[in-house]
């Protein structure tokens, strides 16, 4: 009897210790989440504040009064639509072409046997290690040399292939069973047909990942657009908002306007992510007996 009571007491004490441990862990995680999310929340709330309110209470989470003036100002601004248009043109071109070209390069590195394949892949991995900012001046010089400065070409072409994308695609292609491709070869498919009709559909998870990363990367790109174009007519959202933030387009701090523009800028990436995250799934299921 006393042994039973002792066991029940030690069980209760262990449960209490477990609950306390969980409470501490969750408190820490919530604190980290708040620190992470807070700037974003402030950004959204400030875009609905008046300018005096935003200046007087920059960290207040309750706008007094709630206003959409900043959004109206943006919609009345022709420059803003030019930025949106440029961002869309550049981002869509870069995203679709990058996914295509990265996957082609990844497939070649994963499956084709050619001299220098190892060296090519090693170079790509090495490029990944170089900080982007180091390449800005060489990129600028090359863009100038090719006569692409201050054109869409200069903004798009240098972004079309990226080492990380090729790396991701190569590794994914290597996980696809070779026998599926061999089967297609025996069925009479050409190399490009195998890539296009068999391998790409099976690589959907990697393609979706690359699509999101490319879209996000080119939509949020700033440094490259600064060195590749100077005309205001070629400003993208990032460049335009950056100029807003540095006070070039008006006087005062204009926090609501700047943060409204920033918020609108994040919407496409967020929407894209929510649409595509559900599509990241195993596309090879059923191909081979595992």
């Amino acid at each position: 009897m006393s042994a039973q009571v002792h066991t029940m007491r030690s069980d209760a004490s262990a449960t209490r210790r477990r609950l306390f441990g969980s409470a501490m862990t969750y408190s820490f995680l919530v604190a980290v989440a708040v620190v992470y999310i807070f700037p974003f929340v402030i950004s959204i709330i400030t875009s609905f504040k008046t300018e005096p309110d935003a200046t007087a209470n920059p960290l207040s989470v309750t706008p007094h009064p709630v206003t959409t003036t900043a959004f109206h100002q943006l919609s009345a601004d022709n420059d803003f639509f030019t930025w949106v248009k440029n961002s869309i043109i550049v981002t869509l071109s870069v995203t679709f072409l990058r996914v295509f070209l990265d996957s082609l390069a990844g497939y070649a590195l994963a499956r084709l046997r050619f001299r220098g394949r190892g060296a090519a892949f090693a170079t790509i991995v090495a490029v990944m290690a170089v900080p982007g900012v180091v390449l800005l001046i060489p990129k600028f010089l090359i863009i100038r040399q090719f006569g692409m400065y201050d054109t869409y070409y200069g903004m798009i072409v240098p972004l079309l292939v990226d080492a990380a994308g090729v790396f991701i695609m190569k590794n994914f292609f290597e996980s696809i069973p070779v026998s599926v491709e061999e089967s297609a070869r025996i069925d009479g498919a050409s190399l490009f047909r195998i890539y296009w009709s068999i391998v790409l559909p099976m690589a959907r998870p990697a393609l979706v990942t690359l699509f999101i990363l490319s879209f996000q990367g080119s939509w949020n790109e700033l440094a490259h657009f600064i060195i590749s174009a100077q005309s205001t007519s070629l400003n993208t959202l990032t460049k335009g908002v950056a100029q807003l933030a540095s006070g070039q387009l008006g006087s005062g701090n204009r926090y609501p306007l700047k943060l409204a523009a920033s918020m609108l800028m994040t919407i496409p990436v967020a929407v894209l992510f929510f649409i595509f995250q559900r599509r990241i799934m195993n596309a090879s299921e059923g191909a081979v007996k595992e």
Binding site: E182, S183, A184, R185, D187, R193, P201, E285, G286, A287
Partner: protein
């Protein structure tokens, strides 16, 4: 339909490993040939060379009258069924089956009709709109078969197509494949490491070891007249019992027993040989004058219609590499050799279910001397 000919075909990989050595093989038009052997024997490499998935280092492969050494796989008019099915996961069953027709630009109406006909042959008419992930293992295997059938190729190549199925389904599909092959009369090369599949399905069976063809014969001939120690050990389940013996004037001495020998073997007088005894050539001695081996029963496996008695007899087991490799993978062969007592051999006797034997019983096993096989221990070849 076409014959397949291997003329001195060799495959050496970049690292110098020779997977297939001077292979000569003639597969007749419409024949079902099985390539069998342990892992690493070169059977799959040989099959992949027919398909064009492996380059040929030396020699020549012909399909019909054409030398196909340098033809790409799609131009060889062969269809292949892979061990792991290799289906296109994003396509439906109908699209999987019809993919090769699409590549060959077969008119849509004809393709539809051929897909339907194939689906009927493989029994998947109701599953044409499903994706591979919605099918069972057996159904996926049938789709893989269907993909081969619809092409109406000159040659079917099958690379261990049943090894991923469970035992019951394997037996069912074995009969199914044999039926389809007979129905279509397409020349078929089938690779397996399962000798039961090899024996039951093939018109002829090619046994390979370390890239070298050991014997190419009808299944029954392989079983009854193996050309060497390896084939004798590899073909048959349970494996042939191998005991060391010495040819003497009055017969072959095995332990304390003397077994009569065919007259042709007198030429081997004084030679050490391996004596091969199939399990069904041993029976419980009940009178009669058949030569006998006596020993102690170790274990008895009751299989229903028969039982297998493992009996330890006084004789030297044959520990030649060929024998051990026929029983287990090459890597395990040396390990096994170290575990075996050199003076006590365990033989397996296939006995009637009604025979009363129990572990530790002392028994006398009568030997059917007409079914004995003798092998030269120096060369490993059958003494004939």
């Amino acid at each position: 339909m076409a014959a397949i000919t291997f003329d001195d075909v060799t495959k050496t990989y970049g690292d110098g490993y020779r997977a297939v050595s001077d292979l000569n093989l003639d597969v007749k038009d419409g024949e079902f040939v099985v390539l069998v052997g342990p892992s690493g024997c070169g059977k799959t490499t040989a099959l992949r060379m027919i398909a064009g998935l492996e380059e040929i280092t030396g020699g020549q492969i012909r399909i019909g009258d054409r030398v196909v050494n340098n033809l790409p796989p799609g131009d060889r008019d062969v269809a292949m069924v892979f061990q792991n099915y290799a289906l296109y996961p994003h396509m439906t069953v109908a699209e999987n089956i019809g993919f090769a027709l699409r590549m060959r630009k077969v008119p849509k109406a004809e393709a539809r009709q051929r897909i339907q006909e194939t689906a009927r042959v493989i029994g998947l008419t109701d599953h044409l709109d499903r994706k591979p992930r919605q099918l069972s293992g057996g159904q996926r295997q049938r789709v893989a078969m269907g993909r081969a059938i619809v092409r109406e190729p000159q040659v079917f190549l099958m690379d261990e197509p049943l090894s991923n199925l469970d035992a019951k389904l394997r037996v069912q599909m074995r009969a199914e494949i044999a039926r389809i092959q007979r129905q279509l009369s397409v020349t078929t090369v089938y690779v397996t490491h399962d000798q039961v599949e090899a024996m039951t399905m093939g018109d002829r069976v090619a046994v390979m070891r370390k890239g070298v063809l050991q014997q190419f014969d009808a299944p029954q001939l392989l079983y009854e007249q193996p050309a060497n120690l390896f084939v004798a050990s590899f073909i048959g389940s349970p494996a042939m019992n191998m005991l060391e013996g010495t040819i003497e004037a009055d017969g072959c001495r095995v332990g304390s027993a003397v077994l009569p020998i065919p007259s042709a073997l007198t030429a081997f007088g004084g030679k050490h040989v391996a004596v091969g005894i199939r399990p069904e050539a041993l029976s419980l001695a009940a009178g009669g004058d058949r030569p006998r081996l006596s020993g102690r029963v170790q274990t008895v496996e009751a299989l229903g219609p028969e039982q297998l008695a493992h009996v330890e007899v006084e004789a030297r087991p044959v520990l030649a590499t060929e024998v051990l490799e026929g029983l287990v993978d090459a890597d395990d062969a040396h390990e096994l050799a170290e575990l075996v007592d050199e003076n006590r051999a365990t033989v397996v006797a296939r006995l009637e279910a009604s025979a009363t034997v129990r572990p530790d019983d002392q028994v006398e096993l009568a030997v059917d001397v007409r079914r004995l096989q003798f092998f030269d221990l120096d060369t490993g070849l059958a003494c004939r």
